[in-house]
């Protein structure tokens, strides 16, 4: 017969750091720091609340703001106010965020990957009001193709 089910247990979903071929050993200290910072954010702040947001189709504004506060919005771009990170660090942040939740991952992909990247690549020098949106502030941007 069935025993007590671990369904919904707090352990379920927490990161195990799967890395069978020891890729982590080739990461720089900065890359490891971004990876671990995102993992803690996902385990401690995203997973406990995200199912409710998802089910209600409710955008988690507070979590999006936390991404900025934690210095995770940059995607390897260069610019004033954008935290510096290697392409691998940027990828690891996206990986880890999506391990937690695809909606937040998609938000970051749009905000940094598409909108901020369009501005950074195509208007590299900030020109006042048309400059790169700050990555830490509440301003958000959307790409439209």
């Amino acid at each position: 017969m069935t025993t007590a089910s671990p369904s919904g247990s707090e352990e379920l979903g927490r990161g195990l750091g799967t890395d069978y071929l020891l890729i982590g050993e080739s990461l720089t200290e900065a890359e490891l720091d971004y990876l671990e910072r995102t993992r803690r954010f996902v385990d401690d702040e995203v997973l406990p609340v995200i199912v409710d947001h998802w089910e209600r189709a409710d955008f988690p504004f507070a979590l999006a703001r936390r991404l900025g506060e934690l210095g995770l919005i940059g995607d390897g771009l260069e610019g004033e106010g954008i935290p510096a990170m290697s392409p691998l660090a940027a990828g690891l942040i996206n990986m880890e965020l999506n391990r937690g939740d695809g909606s937040l991952g998609t938000f970051l992909g749009v905000q940094a990957g598409l909108a901020m990247r369009s501005i950074a690549y195509l208007a590299p020098r900030s020109r006042g009001r048309a400059g790169c949106p700050p990555s830490r502030g509440p301003r958000r941007s959307a790409p439209s193709r």
Binding site: T3, P6, S7, G8, S9, E11, L12, G13, R14, T18, Y20, L21, S26, L47, V51, W54, E55, A57, F59, F61, D75, S86, P87, L88, A90, G91, L92, N94, M95, L97, N98, R99, G100, D101, G102, S103, L104, G105, T106, F107, G109, V110, G113, L114, A115, S118, I119, Y121, L122, A123, R127, G128, A130, P133, R139, S141, A142, P143, S144, R145
Partner: protein, 246 residues
């Protein structure tokens, strides 16, 4: 390239006309990047639209079964006016926008890897904790074999991502490399997540166990930034020298 939104220069301003679908974050954005075809030279140019100007409308798309906690919109631009200073100076052709999309394609490969890892790790934790017939699920040969096959796929996805990120760092990433990584990782992620769902049995369909959310959310990633089929055709053109699409 079927980009139908138009831009028309009038003095120091540009007038934008058109409609777009699936614009991420558009209902909550302070600034929106809009691509439009210049009526004068036929080239695609980028513009920053700030706030909620006259003629601008963004309507949230509702009823999604994937990535439900992030919002996309239908937008219409009915004669929206922006100053010339809002034009992205480097974005003069569609080729310029292509550079942006090549980078985000690799992001998708990393995202798919994240979904697969998430599902694999839930399955591993669950199968260690849950007992059936007097022993944990991980004690059964068929469970171990499934878990290790999932691990093998996750590991191959990690290696794709690692190498492509290194190539990006060296300035050597080609859009076909990113396309191959995205195609491989989204297809494999779907398979890994489906196995995880199966290993959790009936509990696998409960949202509280996370795998079901990964299972439907991966569908969005499988599709946006170019579907797996499109990626295959881009790589196919590269390896065969023949474009099978127009």
């Amino acid at each position: 390239m079927a980009l139908e939104t138009t831009a028309r220069r009038e003095g120091d301003e540009w007038v934008l006309e058109g409609a777009k679908r699936w614009i991420g974050n558009a209902t909550i954005a302070d600034v929106t990047v809009v691509w439009a075809r210049d009526e004068a030279d036929g080239q695609v140019k980028g513009f920053l639209v700030e706030g909620d100007p006259a003629g601008w409308e963004a309507t949230r798309i509702e009823g999604k079964g994937s990535v439900r906690a992030v919002w996309q919109a239908d937008i219409t631009l009915a004669g929206v006016r922006v100053p010339d200073s809002a034009r992205l100076p480097g974005g003069e052709t569609f080729k310029d926008t292509g550079r942006v999309l090549a980078a985000t394609r690799l992001t998708c490969a990393f995202a798919a890897l994240g979904h697969a890892v998430g599902a694999y790790e839930v399955a591993l934790t669950y199968c260690k904790e849950r007992e059936q017939f007097g022993q944990p699920l991980v004690g059964f040969q068929i469970v171990q074999e499934k878990l290790v096959r999932m691990l093998a796929e996750v590991t191959s996805m990690q290696l794709y991502c690692l190498q492509c990120a290194r190539l990006t760092d060296e300035g050597k990433l080609r859009d076909t490399f990113a396309g191959l990584a995205k195609m491989n990782n989204t297809i494999k992620a779907r398979q890994v997540i489906a196995e995880a769902r199966d290993l959790l049995g009936g509990n696998g369909i409960l949202l509280e166990n996370h795998v079901m959310r990964h299972m439907v959310d991966i569908e969005a990633i499988h599709t946006f930034e170019g579907t797996a089929t499109i990626q295959a055709l881009i790589v196919g053109r590269d390896v065969t020298g023949v474009a099978a699409f127009t």
